[in-house]
Symmetry: C2
Subunit: 197 residues, 2 copies
DNA sequence: GTCTATATACCGATAGAC
DNA sequence: GTCTATCGGTATATAGAC
């Protein structure tokens, strides 16, 4: 009788579990993963540390639950580009797809970039494949037999995409549409690509 | 008789102090500041934790000593743009100046971006002014009375500059010259600026 | 599901001998 | 300048009552 509607824990039960997640995202983002104790998370929710362990088996599992959608986004894009051609329109389409996922999961994403090392270490234990995804994406973006300059441009373009996660701080109130169109244009510009669309 | 050549501790004494710094940069970069214990740093150097405290009064002071050149770089650039005009050539000159500092202090800089929260917290206690420097620079880059799009472009351009710190991973062996010219070109492209030089 | 209480371990930092 | 030994504090995680 744990849950009256199995698989619908978002609606039925699980309110506490969601509250823990939200409080953890906020605290991990502002203070960092290692610097945030589970006591602080529990206090923010209004429960004790021991109750928190009922919902998440460990601090690492809590972190992994938070970054899961971000991991899915990069996994999806990396799988997408596998064996794909490298014309301007395709590159633009992949970049837009990647950027949209970034913007959608902005809260967890910005937590990742603010505490890269902690997330990196966490991923290396559970999802070792994702750590190479950035390189895979950069390699594809740079194109076949790319020069040093082309590779630097590819890395810079990915950096432009990732800046969607931190732009809120510099441009409060910017709409998702402006963010997407502007950064997509900037990223293609960095790549020296001038697509037809 | 602490030092035979006062002021020349780089040459005369201070070998241990420098070894501590180098080991700390490496460990802080790969594991994160909070996740790295002073015991690990001491072990890497081949001394004990207590000896480490002879050279640095606290863990925070060790971190601050490492990031000092990075702080100086951004301070210098921010002071430079104060009251400066906003024509294309000036923007390009400022970006180049900022980028060169980034490349020069790449090791400490990449440590900063990999562990943003820890560095942010450390700076807020000692150098609270530097935390606003990013915004000041972005505001100036965006130009007077900037639109949302212009502000997003400014933030993205800074992100391109900062990518110099992590490019090594994607483009091993790239020269400083290629890195500088490519990223400078990419950043100005993001800003929609087409300077004469 | 939530609580109190606790086990266990490591951290940063200090004291004092050499 | 480096060491051994230790203090005080906090962390993750667990046991068991309710």
């Amino acid at each position: 009788m744990a849950q009256p509607y199995p698989g619908h824990d978002i609606i039925a039960g699980g309110g506490t579990k969601m509250a823990i997640r939200d409080a953890a995202v906020k605290l991990f983002t502002s203070k960092g993963f290692e610097q945030t104790s589970l006591r602080e998370v529990a206090d923010a929710v209004g429960i004790t540390k021991a109750s928190l362990y009922y919902h998440y088996p460990s601090k690492l599992d809590l972190l992994l639950a938070i970054i899961e959608p971000v991991v899915e986004n990069i996994r999806r894009v990396v799988a997408e580009v596998d064996g794909l051609g490298h014309d301007a329109d395709t590159v633009r389409r992949v970049l837009r797809d990647y950027l949209r996922g970034m913007i959608r999961h902005r809260d967890a994403g910005s937590m990742c970039v603010r505490d890269t090392v902690a997330i990196y270490n966490a991923l290396s234990e559970r999802y070792p494949d994702v750590l190479e995804s950035g390189k895979v994406l950069a390699d594809w973006l740079a194109g076949p037999d790319a020069s040093h300059e082309a590779r630097v441009r590819a890395a810079a373009a990915l950096s432009v995409i990732t800046s969607a996660l931190t732009t809120d701080e510099y441009v409060p109130g910017v709409s998702d549409e402006v963010l997407e169109s502007t950064l997509l244009d900037a990223a293609t510009c960095v790549l020296n690509i001038h697509a037809t669309a």
